[in-house]
């Protein structure tokens, strides 16, 4: 795509050789463990075969011509995930994926299935790296923790879901949760302290190797006149940076983060359900679980991945294998709701007065924030409202509605280029 660059080809080939060897070792270790500890010979043979496959991939990569994704597939993924439509597909697609994972969690948490998914995603990552634009994203020192985050988060989410599914099965059978079964006391010394010591040593070792092998992402001296392009926030703030694209700075930078913090602080007071204390469960806490996962996985982690892999120069959307072209032109002319209403729908010019101009947006927002809660209380959240009482319910529903404002506005921006629902630049009040 970029033309032949021997230095790049060599670096990728070397890295992928080691990468695939690591994957082979991982699978061989799993096979050994299955064979020796669990005595599942058939499974062990399968994973050993997978390990051998990775060894072959490693050999090919070290030979200098690592296999990559077929060109057609790359192009297809690029066209799917580029531009605003790509953002919509990515966001809604990841949401659909989360819903599917949640719905069929009993299937996906099976160790065999989970291990297969892990192998496939690692293989996909390896095959993608032969694409230079992708390699430059993944291999950037800034982004290494993001790739690690994706896999670590996947692992821990799997672990929690696995335990929750087990517990739910047990609860259904009338048994106490697993955590209650092995709630025997363990000594702080030596049991806990030794575990902590080992964790400390392992973490220090990881940090040391990280520091030695991956150079610090230092940049040129700061220059007021030259902002790096693209200029990305630290990885943990990419969600916040994404938020800032859709709402005004005072909203996305001050009000919404304050709501996030206050909302997290308020959870223990809103959610007084004792179920799930001290053990994993999903069945008993479906609403709480799914709301938290939407807030965390969908509205934070997915946005981090979006900001890392799809956002390019000038903060435009690029496909994952698309070269970052600073002169890519996308049609992004933003239109306010009032302009949509007055010019497009009514076919007249926008009125002068602020209220006359923006009444539709104001009415919509008021209806969303103040009319929707009672309607929901009377319908979907009827049981919640009865159980929680007025104040608790209102706080909960307001936090929920404010949380959902973000994806709503994002999708509206991407699909119809909606800029502001209420636009009052005269007072610096835009919503």
């Amino acid at each position: 795509m970029h033309g032949y660059d021997p230095a790049f080809e060599k670096a990728v080939a070397e890295f992928l050789g080691i990468y695939y060897l690591g994957l082979a070792a991982l699978n061989a270790g799993a096979a050994y463990w299955l064979w020796q500890k669990l005595h599942k010979v058939r499974d062990a043979v399968v994973w050993l075969a997978v390990a051998l496959g990775f060894v072959v991939l490693a050999a090919v990569s070290m030979g200098g011509a690592p296999w990559g994704l077929p060109h057609g597939l790359r192009e297809l993924l690029n066209t799917i995930f580029t531009g605003n439509r790509g953002a919509v597909i990515f966001t809604l697609g990841s949401f659909a994926l989360l819903v599917i994972l949640f719905r069929f969690r009993r299937f996906f948490v099976r160790p065999r299935v989970a291990w297969t998914i892990l192998n496939l995603s690692l293989l996909y990552l390896g095959l993608s790296m032969t694409s230079r634009p992708f390699w430059e994203i993944v291999a950037k020192p800034d982004n290494v923790p993001i790739v690690a985050l994706a896999f670590l988060l996947g692992f821990f989410t799997w672990l929690a879901t696995y335990k929750a599914v087990q517990n739910d099965e047990r609860i259904k059978q009338g048994l106490p949760p697993l955590e209650k079964e092995d709630s025997e006391k363990v000594l702080v010394w030596p049991d806990l302290v030794y575990t902590e010591l080992i964790c400390m040593l392992a973490l220090t070792a990881v940090l040391l190797f990280w520091a030695i092998f991956i150079k610090a992402p230092l940049e040129q001296p700061a220059n007021r006149a030259d902002t790096p392009n693209p200029s990305k926030a630290p990885w943990y703030f990419l969600g916040l940076q994404e938020m800032l694209v859709y709402y005004d700075p005072w909203m996305a930078g001050v009000v919404l983060p304050t709501f996030i913090i206050l909302g997290l602080m308020a959870i223990p007071y809103i959610d007084f359900n004792k179920k799930g204390n001290g053990y994993y469960t999903i069945e008993e806490r479906k609403f709480a679980y799914s709301m938290f996962q939407i807030g965390f996985l969908q509205l934070w982690v997915v946005l981090i991945i979006l900001g890392t892999f799809l956002r390019g120069p000038n903060w435009n959307f690029f496909g994952p294998y698309e070269p970052w072209d600073a002169h890519k032109v996308l049609v992004l002319n933003n239109v306010n709701l009032s302009e949509y209403f007055w010019i497009d729908l009514m076919g007249m010019s926008v009125p002068e007065g602020i209220l006359a101009r923006e009444w539709l947006g104001i009415v919509l927002l008021i209806a969303y924030l103040f009319l929707l809660p009672p309607i929901l209380a009377a319908t979907i959240f009827r049981q919640f409202f009865i159980k929680m009482g007025f104040i608790r319910y209102m706080i909960m529903i307001q936090l929920l509605l404010w949380m959902l404002l973000l994806p709503i506005k994002m999708v509206l921006r991407w699909t119809i280029n909606l800029k502001y629902i209420i636009a009052i630049p005269e007072w610096f009040f835009n919503f």
Binding site: R224, D226, L244, N314, A326, E426
Partner: protein, 359 residues
């Protein structure tokens, strides 16, 4: 004798009382009757429970030294049961006071009713007595008719009740001091100043806090002074950017971006071709956009805000157009930008003739 005394001291008052009561019951049946009769049933019953277990031990030891002691404890009970004092005094309390003086051990306990028995074990007992007393006092009639029914029935207690009845009498309201008009005493004010000075410097603590406050105040003043340096090393707010003929229509000069953070543009605004100085600060969050010649727009790399050549925002999150600085044609015919004044489009300030030079 000494050993016996020690043993006596070890005995709790409850035990002593129990022993006494036993003696009473042996010698004086009348007092026994008193105890069981109505008044302090709570106290009596608790005392009995105590005595039931420990009757035998103390009973043997008390008699020798305690012939004088017995009535003194009896007196405690008797005083608690105020109504029966006469009877009790008639039967037993005549001897106790002299005997209390004789015996050294008993001397600590006799006359002062509640204070003298110091040990903790005594407390529940005396409090029981007092509580019973209290209950009795409070066990008053609920309704008026009940009160009337009760008052004639008890002629004798009325001797003591008056004191209780006298309590609710409202004391006379204290006379209000005459109203003093404020600020009419210069002498006192001067003295007040001296007093403040005394508080500030009179004690070591005062001196300490005063000097602390002074130091902090000086620090604050020094910090304020620091905000206004004698020399400011920054480009002048007024600078010349060449002649208007250097800027053909549709031209964007980016060479002043690094030093002055300004673009000089010749663009159309409101149907008029104008030369203006645009600030290079994005109105979204203050990054520096780039001029993209091919796309004819300013594009911010941070969040993707886009501005037309004349500075009007059209894409991305920027809520308002770029800002203009004041520009004029100086005496020598060059354009002069004044960064100390800025003009915001959304406030209608771009119509100000100082914000542009017609091209």
């Amino acid at each position: 004798m000494a050993a016996e005394e020690k043993k006596k001291k070890k005995m709790s008052v409850a035990e002593i009382l129990a022993a006494c009561r036993k003696l009473d019951s042996k010698g004086d049946t009348a007092s026994q009757a008193e105890q069981s009769s109505g008044k302090d049933q709570a106290a009596a019953s608790s005392a009995k429970q105590d005595s039931a277990s420990e009757e035998s031990k103390p009973a043997t030891k008390i008699p020798k030294p305690g012939s004088g002691k017995r009535p003194s404890v009896q007196e405690i009970l008797a005083m608690a049961r105020a109504e029966k004092q006469k009877k009790a005094a008639a039967s037993t309390s005549a001897p106790p006071q002299p005997s209390a003086a004789k015996k050294p051990v008993a001397a600590t306990k006799p006359t002062p009713k509640p204070q003298a028995p110091a040990p903790a074990a005594e407390k529940p007992h005396s409090s029981n007595i007092l509580a019973a007393e209290e209950v009795e006092r409070k066990r008053g009639p609920v309704s008026k008719s009940a009160l009337e029914a009760k008052t004639p029935a008890k002629p004798s207690p009325t001797e003591k009740k008056p004191a209780a009845k006298a309590k609710p009498v409202v004391p006379p309201r204290p006379t209000r001091p005459p109203f003093t008009k404020p600020g009419k005493k210069p002498d006192q004010q001067r003295r007040g100043f001296l007093a403040v000075l005394g508080v500030m410097l009179g004690t070591p603590l005062g001196v300490g806090f005063t000097s602390l406050a002074t130091t902090m105040g000086l620090w604050t003043l020094g910090t304020l002074r620091f905000m206004f340096p004698n020399v400011r090393i920054e480009p002048p707010s007024k600078f010349k950017v060449g002649f208007p003929s250097d800027y053909p229509p549709g031209y964007v000069e980016t060479k002043f971006k690094t030093q002055y953070a300004v673009w000089i543009v010749n663009a159309e605004y409101n149907g008029q071709q104008q030369i203006a100085a645009l600030s290079t600060v994005c109105t979204h969050l203050g990054c520096t956009p780039n001029w993209l010649e091919a796309e004819q727009k300013f594009k911010c790399p941070c969040h993707g805000s886009g501005f037309y050549i004349n500075g009007i925002n059209f894409e991305g999150p920027a809520p308002r157009p770029l800002e203009r600085y004041a520009i004029r044609i100086a005496e020598d015919g060059q354009l002069e930008v004044d960064k100390s004044r800025k003009f915001q489009e959304e406030k209608g300030q771009w119509n100000d003739p100082d914000s542009f030079v017609p091209a």
